[in-house]
Symmetry: C2
Subunit: 214 residues, 2 copies
DNA sequence: CCTTGTAATTGATCGAGATCAATAGCTCTC
DNA sequence: GAGAGCTATTGATCTCGATCAATTACAAGG
């Protein structure tokens, strides 16, 4: 496996693959954040995937993807040439089982995202997004309960709008509203402080706990 | 594989599994249509999956699902007890590879769905839904180009609304508008005639063709 | 035939978020 | 430090789809 891997770096804003382009590798994100975005003919855009470190990019047995892949921050990928990687899957059942698990997790995430897009209010969308980022950051550290949480937004307001199915103006307004209400505070444009994480969770519209015996 | 399979039938409207319930089987849809639905505490609902014949339900190595599964029409499932099925995956790499392919297809569908939910207008949503159903029906037959297409809606207006992130009133109004504009005609409430399928496609907001050299 | 119940249509009004527009804050560069 | 070029905030107004409400269309059952 190590024999066919190599690293690539992309700068923030750079396109990693264009929709319908040939893609001769699959990869896993080592560092940074990449987004998958679909665009309509008239320019309307919707983010359909957000890849954080350890997430997988690309599809075995398929040469193209149907969305643009863009580096939201500086990104480092660990790449594998696609054909050797496919051979690896054939010979090593463990790999395809692991890949299946990861894809199923991604599908679950996509389904929560669909609930967000279809039914949540703008304020709930923003809160949900902030808590997703906060949580993904927090897993690297260890999360104390009902504590202050701090992190940097990896996305611009415009990218957040594309993620949430909103306009950037609405994103900005709702961020200001959450700040005014003391749910978050901002240091600069991108650095977020959440004084009480549970308070933020209450704003997301999701069930308080994971659903185990409500 | 045949040794561990059995069939189950559900009537339209019946719940197949509740969110967070234990699910001791996985299954594939033989006949009918089932929906996966997520519900918020205050009752807002969003469909997050629509299972048509040949689609797969359930997740190996996980006892629960996080959404309700409901029979939209009468449904026949071909079930496999979960634990033997997991053993099958372990021993037969072909199965997990096939399952990976199916899951990746479902993820692609989920991503198009996200574009629909986040960025399309009500009219585009309805048109997209109708063309999805028409196409899934048409694969069973053989599809001539720019021809009349005919099919039955497997969903109520309310279920369509849950699919599309709309209210049932808006669904009804847009159906009437498409009828008024001659894009579709209705025989009864559920039977749809599309006189010109390309005309319907133009209403979806999607690119005219699959994206091969636009 | 008349009731009862569910699915669907249609109308009137309202409001959340989009759109249009101006301004502010930053970082770079010259 | 003035100007260009971003990103972000804030204001004013408009619109699409939601909400509230009444009516219609059936199908089932007494």
């Amino acid at each position: 496996m190590d024999a066919i891997k190599y690293y690539r770096r992309y700068e923030a804003g750079q396109t990693i693959v264009w929709a319908a382009d040939k893609m001769d590798f699959v990869a896993s994100v080592v560092d940074g954040v990449a987004s998958l975005t679909q665009t309509m003919e008239d320019g309307r855009r919707q983010m359909v995937g957000l890849l954080l470190p350890s997430d997988f990019l690309g599809r075995p047995n398929r040469e193209t993807v149907s969305y643009d892949v863009t580096a939201a921050t500086d990104v480092t990928l660990c790449c594998f040439r696609r054909v050797p990687f496919q051979d690896l899957i054939q010979s090593n059942p463990h790999v395809s089982q692991r890949l299946l698990e990861m894809t199923l997790d991604e599908l679950d995430a996509a389904r929560e995202w669909m609930l967000l897009l279809g039914r949540k209010t703008a304020r709930e969308k923003i809160s949900s997004f902030l808590s997703i980022i906060a949580r993904r950051d927090a897993t690297l550290n260890n999360l104390p309960k009902r504590a202050e949480v701090t992190f940097d937004l990896p996305l611009t307001r415009e990218a957040m709008a594309d993620y949430l199915g909103l306009t950037l103006e609405t994103v900005s307004r709702q961020m200001s509203a959450l700040k005014r209400d003391g749910v978050i505070s901002l240091k600069g444009k991108r650095h977020i402080v959440v004084p009480d994480f549970e308070r933020l969770m209450d704003e997301t519209g999701d069930d308080a706990d994971g659903g185990v015996l409500t």
